[in-house]
């Protein structure tokens, strides 16, 4: 049965390839306008899940639903409202980006008036307007990926399923993808995005699901995940204008509450492992600023999500 707010759901989703279990009874329900990051190491089952959500491969057991419609039973109706980018597809080389998007728009029953607006708009959004009438066969991997992103967006989808959308893109392209995702979130779209780039997920996603060995380790808001699994521990890198020894730094912070460990990275840089709240972090920063060695920078050495990711994946392995 169809639902009102955008939704993606997988129930008991299992996929085996011979003796190898790629996905093991995955249950996941995403609902509402938001971006959900789908994380996991290589071979964890992310792409397998997305391929079953788009009926490119078939579950050994379980079922997938888009807006309450079974993908396995009604692929056409289920994918009607979704924009899909799986595995960096190739586009027919004889087509131009405009022709490729016209084909997508045509198959999705977009009117000529809609196409006339949307195709130039999405091409502009992915910075491919000046290549609109060149044959795709000549394009680099990154340029093709931009067209694939445009193809996923051209029909103004309510739901987006993106499998590592930044693949093949340069840093500017990656930043543009993040901007696009942020814009779509503002418009209440549900975005389900697999990614290896934790900074990207931290930047744009509201929730994260982590899988490993085909099993779901957790699915929660970014805030809950980091507070639940990091136990308040973070590490900071502090850089100074003048060199100092580790022993000197130990003395300076000996009485500071929450400091667990200090590591010297080079004569001017230290990593400080800290457990405590934001007020405590502010106090630590003030204390470091007051030192005579002239603090020049103070930042988290790893993102909180990265800490959680590594700890959970290591534990699972």
């Amino acid at each position: 049965m169809a639902t009102n707010s955008p939704s993606i759901e997988v129930r008991g989703l299992t996929k085996t390839f011979g003796k190898f279990t790629a996905l093991d009874h995955l249950d996941l329900k995403l609902e509402g306008g938001k971006c959900v990051g789908f994380l996991g190491p290589n071979g964890a089952g992310k792409t397998t899940t997305l391929k079953m959500l788009t009926d490119m491969i078939f579950p050994t057991a379980g079922e997938c639903f888009v807006n309450g419609i079974s993908v396995q039973k009604e692929r056409k109706r289920a994918l009607h409202v979704a924009g899909v980018l799986i595995e960096s597809p190739e586009i027919y080389p004889s087509l131009t980006p405009t022709q490729a998007l016209e084909m997508v728009a045509d198959m999705r029953n977009m009117s000529h008036a809609e196409r006339a607006v949307r195709i130039p708009a999405v091409l502009a959004e992915v910075k491919m307007s000046e290549w609109a009438d060149e044959k795709v066969g000549k394009f680099s991997k990154g340029m093709k990926q931009r067209i694939n992103i445009a193809a996923a967006l051209v029909h103004d989808p309510e739901i987006l399923m993106l499998d590592e959308p930044a693949t093949g893109l340069d840093p500017r392209g990656m930043a543009e993808v993040r901007t696009i995702v942020r814009e779509l979130k503002k418009q209440d779209r549900l975005i389900f995005m697999s990614s290896h780039i934790l900074a990207e997920v931290t930047d744009v996603c509201d929730e994260v699901a982590l899988i490993n060995h085909g099993k779901l380790l957790f699915y929660d808001t970014l805030e809950n995940v980091t507070s639940k699994f990091s136990h308040g521990q973070v590490s900071f890198d502090a850089s100074f204008a003048r060199p100092m020894t580790e022993a000197a730094m130990q003395v300076q912070l000996a009485s500071t509450a929450g400091v667990q460990k200090i590591e010297q990275l080079d004569p001017r840089r230290f990593r400080i492992y800290y457990t405590g709240d934001l007020a405590g972090q502010a106090a630590l920063l003030r204390q470091l600023s007051a030192l005579e060695f002239d603090l020049v920078s103070f930042q988290e050495s790893k993102s909180a999500l990265e800490e959680v990711y590594l700890s959970q994946i290591d534990r699972g392995d």
């Binding site: 390839f17 391929k51 788009t54 009926d55 490119m56 491969i57 078939f58 692929r75 056409k76 109706r77 289920a78 994918l79 009607h80 409202v81 924009g83 899909v84 980018l85 799986i86 595995e87 960096s88 597809p89 190739e90 586009i91 027919y92 004889s94 087509l95 022709q99 490729a100 084909m103 997508v104 045509d106 198959m107 999705r108 029953n109 977009m110 008036a113 809609e114 006339a116 607006v117 949307r118 708009a121 999405v122 502009a124 959004e125 694939n148 193809a151 996923a152 967006l153 029909h155 103004d156 989808p157 309510e158 696009i180 814009e183 779509l184 503002k186 418009q187 209440d188 779209r189």
Partner: protein, 301 residues
């Protein structure tokens, strides 16, 4: 500019958020026609189309030059003999080449080149993709057959004037179209069986250019069994419709062909027109169903 809020300078209203939800689904048969159109455009503007037309031109040129230079009397005795040899043998080769060039990688290429990931993200049934691609390959191949028929009719008009345009020729043309349907059905089946275009293309070419003919000869000569189940047995009706080499009554199963001078006639087992059409249509239906069945179950791993 933000997606979904774009405005058009001409004043066309911009797409508003969630328009994909309100847009009605396109019927599958309309998606088939649209896909056929895009696929056909891809074929017609590709190098493979130029290659196919060049092959037809070369085959036509060689046949024209040989007939024009040697002017063999049995060949030019009447338009039936002319068509039976020139068209009957030439068009099957043209159809095999067209099938290999336009159909060999039609399905396998979607997996190998990863273009299938682009298509299968769309709200389309797999059958829609299969039928759309089949129709495009059929139309592109038919263009090559029509080109070859044009070359042949030009030759026929040169040698026989208005008498070149016989009902038998148009009947044979229709049979060639049925053969094209069957051959493409088989080609698409092979293309669905493999995820590598090369295998599908090679198997089709080898089977239809040599394999089936060899098998047919072996079965007929060694086992003395009529090889009615082989497509190349059925395709003889394309030339057989002119009934120029058969001394028996037209449409009979066993045909007495004149042997070498001084020797008795040779007994040749031929398909009748009805049998030929039946076999070719059976090939088309069975291979289409099997090919579609395989494609429906093929995974984009």
């Amino acid at each position: 500019m933000t997606l979904g809020l774009a405005t058009d300078p001409t004043g066309v209203p911009a797409s508003t958020p969630g328009t994909s939800v309100r847009r009605p689904l396109l019927r599958s048969w309309r998606q088939v026609l649209k896909l056929t159109r895009y696929q056909l455009r891809d074929y017609l503007f590709s190098r493979r189309f130029v290659l196919m037309m060049a092959l037809v031109a070369i085959i036509g040129f060689i046949l024209t030059a040989v007939v024009g230079y040697y002017r063999p009397p049995p060949f030019l005795g009447n338009s039936g003999s002319f068509y039976a040899t020139f068209w009957g043998s030439g068009v099957t080769v043209v159809i095999i080449f067209a099938g290999v060039i336009f159909g060999g990688d039609a399905i396998a290429g979607e997996f190998q080149n990863k273009t299938g990931y682009f298509l299968m993200g769309l709200p389309v049934r797999r059958a829609t993709v299969y039928v759309g691609k089949y129709l495009a390959a059929f139309i592109a191949s038919l263009t090559a057959v029509v080109f070859f028929a044009g070359l042949l009719l030009a030759n026929g008009a040169y040698y026989f004037g208005a008498g070149a345009f016989t009902a038998d020729f148009f009947g044979s043309f229709a049979l060639a179209i049925v053969y094209l349907l069957a051959l493409l059905g088989a080609v698409f089946l092979f293309s669905s069986m493999f995820k590598t275009s090369t295998y599908a293309t090679l198997i089709t070419a080898v089977l239809f250019l040599f394999g089936f003919s060899l098998l047919q000869a072996l079965i007929a000569d060694l086992a003395h069994v009529t090889p009615w189940f082989i497509l190349t047995y059925a395709d003889t009706v394309i030339g057989g419709i002119f009934n120029t080499s058969c001394l028996s009554a037209p449409g009979t199963h066993v045909c007495m062909s004149p042997g070498p001078p001084g020797s008795p006639p040779i007994t040749v087992t031929n398909a009748t027109i009805a049998e030929g059409v039946g076999i070719m249509l059976a090939y088309f239906v069975i291979t289409a169903i099997l090919g579609l069945f395989l494609f429906e179950r093929e995974e984009f791993t």
